[in-house]
């Protein structure tokens, strides 16, 4: 019998706390509304402020982009900004996949997304793109972020890229290409291991082989060709982008 009493107590306590949370939630909503009325524009216009905002949320354990139904999204409009950006990122990656095998530098992605958004749209920073991409991962189509040099390569296909592949990509970043000898001397690997990694990248369409290079064959990464930045997305490629 005493046990039953304790059980009852337990239920009541949780109910109390839920009621408390509901009340606090309403209050918080009001605070957020006030904040939004003063600073909503700041968030829209100032990418540094967005970064601060996101970092503070992360510190306390809150994800303002988790749901379009969340308070943050509804009242500050941050949700729509990033979710729309997500759509634009997917479209650019799909359109260019046949060129680069599903790997693209953050810089080129940034350029192409800006172009697609048009003259009158809100400017977006590279940090904004990274946050949108982190959210896209959840959809299972292979979005990933690979640090190389001082920047990032964005993967948009479900190809498996392990540590070995990543390290070779980082090595290739400086010149846009890499050779077996360079891998062996920089990373101290055996020929077989270097070849395996390069062949995997070739198979995935992320690397192209130049057998006519002076010396030994060069493995080029189309994602790193700077000249390609200025190339427009052709109408055929744009059709690919919209399923």
């Amino acid at each position: 019998l005493p046990q039953a009493k304790y059980k009852e107590r337990g239920t009541v306590l949780a109910e109390d706390q839920l009621a408390q949370m509901s009340k606090q939630l309403d209050m918080f909503k009001t605070n957020l509304e006030e904040f939004a009325s003063k600073h909503k524009q700041e968030i829209r216009k100032n990418p540094e402020f967005r970064v601060q905002f996101q970092d503070m949320c992360a510190t306390i354990g809150v994800d303002p982009l988790a749901s379009g139904k969340g308070f943050w999204s509804e009242m500050l409009g941050v949700g729509d900004f990033y979710y729309e950006l997500g759509v634009q990122i997917v479209e650019v990656c799909l359109a260019l996949k046949h060129r680069n095998g599903g790997l693209i530098t953050l810089e080129e992605l940034h350029q192409q997304v800006l172009k697609g958004r048009g003259k009158f749209a809100q400017d977006v920073s590279q940090d904004d793109l990274l946050r949108a991409i982190k959210k896209l991962k959840v959809l299972g189509s292979g979005f990933g972020i690979i640090p190389v040099g001082g920047t990032y390569l964005i993967q948009s296909v479900p190809a498996e890229l392990n540590m070995d592949h990543t390290v070779v990509l980082q090595l290739a970043e400086k010149k846009g290409y890499v050779t077996v000898s360079e891998i062996k001397s920089s990373l101290k690997w055996e020929t077989e291991r270097a070849k395996q990694v390069l062949e995997h990248l070739l198979k995935e369409g992320m690397a192209w082989l130049d057998t006519q290079a002076a010396g030994e064959p060069q493995y080029w990464l189309p994602a790193l060709f700077t000249e390609l930045y200025s190339q427009e997305i052709t109408p055929e490629e744009a059709k690919e982008a919209i399923p």
Partner: protein, 386 residues
């Protein structure tokens, strides 16, 4: 604009590219010029502008010529700009497009955006002055003319004062926003603590809390963007919102699925649905959580996850295993096919085409030939001809 010199645009030894931006127009002070569409490159040493139509037309200016820079916001019909205030040209400067100019500043007009990133990088480079540590082959002219220096000092003081005032004003706005943000975050933190405490109670009680209360709790978490600390799931991470969403999706996706052979990747669905909505978009998590409830709610669609991790929505009536049979026929007719070729033939996305071929392989109907030329699938003769 008389500070610019003609250049080949090739980077010198020791000079690195920092950032570049297309669609930039150069203005001499307030006057527009013929340099109306170019790629603007920022290196550790220079600003380089190359005409997009005529690649031969390429000019540059050393970063050491820059006194300071300001941002100018976009307006209606006007692009955002960066105003670059310059030292007078050095007397031994390499020849450029203009001999003289009545302005001591230029404007960079960003017709295709990118000004935020560019401004940030340019500020960094001007502050770090990396060109001083990395001497390059070409002698970069720095103005050492003393008389010009005196004239410079007078004109600039006024500008610097204006800039200081503007900075104080901006700082004030930003610090107020940050203050308000900090206070808001304190309150949000309290909510997080409370939710953890409730979650612990739920874990302890294990079944004494009602279904209804759990759903309520989950919806509170959703509003705040707090991850669900309770691992015990009744409806995935579902709330009433996700159940509603699942039903909506079933309605919206029926026709598109039929048009695409009964199957679509989750990424395709995300884009389709959000483009149709325009406003109040779904987050990727909203979509996944709603899709997890499709089968539970006995809706005519379902979520399927392939071995590769690729997630798709299928019509209940769709049977991927049956599609494999027809895929086998197609591959046999052609002898062999890659995922790209199969996708084009059948009119599917490459992503889903690949999954179907992989499934056929898993079921033993196809064999792979994995070479550097790509992944090619053949009918499995080992099976049929053994």
């Amino acid at each position: 604009m008389d500070r610019f010199s003609w250049t080949s645009g090739l980077l010198e030894l020791g000079e690195t590219l920092v950032v570049q931006q297309r669609g930039v127009r150069l203005c001499d002070g307030e006057e527009k010029l013929n340099f109306d569409r170019g790629v603007l490159l920022l290196s550790t040493h220079r600003l380089i502008w190359r005409d997009q139509k005529n690649h031969e037309c390429c000019i540059s200016i050393p970063l050491s010529q820059i006194v300071f820079i300001e941002e100018q916001a976009a307006g209606i019909g006007k692009s955002a700009k960066i105003v670059v205030h310059l030292h007078p040209a050095a007397s031994n400067k390499e020849p450029g497009p203009f001999q003289s100019s009545k302005y001591s500043y230029i404007k960079l007009s960003f017709k295709e955006h990118g000004q935020i990133e560019f401004y940030r990088r340019l500020s960094e480079e001007i502050t770090q002055r990396r060109w001083e540590n990395l001497p390059t082959g070409q002698t970069i002219q720095v103005n050492k003319d003393p008389q010009a220096g005196r004239i410079r000092a007078v004109g600039i003081v006024g500008i610097e004062r204006k800039l200081e005032e503007k900075r104080k004003e901006t700082d004030k706005n930003i610090s107020e926003a940050f203050e308000d943000l900090s206070k808001l975050m304190e309150k949000a933190k309290e909510m997080v603590e409370l939710s953890k405490s409730i979650a612990n109670k739920i874990k302890e009680k294990q079944g004494d809390i009602t279904e209804d209360e759990t759903i309520r709790f989950k919806s509170y978490l959703l509003s705040m963007g707090i991850a669900n600390p309770v691992t015990r799931e009744t409806h995935g991470s579902g709330t009433h919102y996700h159940m509603q969403l699942a039903k909506q999706l079933a309605g919206i996706l029926q026709t598109p699925l039929e048009e695409r052979g009964g199957i679509m990747s989750l990424t395709e669905v995300y884009c389709l649905v959000n483009r149709a909505r325009g406003l109040e978009l779904l987050s990727p998590e909203d979509l996944v959580n709603a899709c997890k409830m499709l089968e539970l709610l006995k809706l005519p669609l379902r979520l399927r996850i392939f071995d590769s991790g690729v997630m798709v929505i299928e019509l209940q009536s769709h049977n991927e295993e049956e599609m494999v049979a027809s895929a086998l026929e197609t591959v046999s007719e052609k002898g062999s096919l890659t995922a790209d070729e199969f996708a084009k033939l059948v009119g599917m996305s490459v992503l889903l085409a690949k999954e179907r071929l992989l499934l056929a392989e898993k079921m033993g109907h196809l064999c792979r030939d994995d070479s550097v030329e790509g992944l090619r699938f053949y009918p499995n003769l080992f099976l049929t001809q053994s």
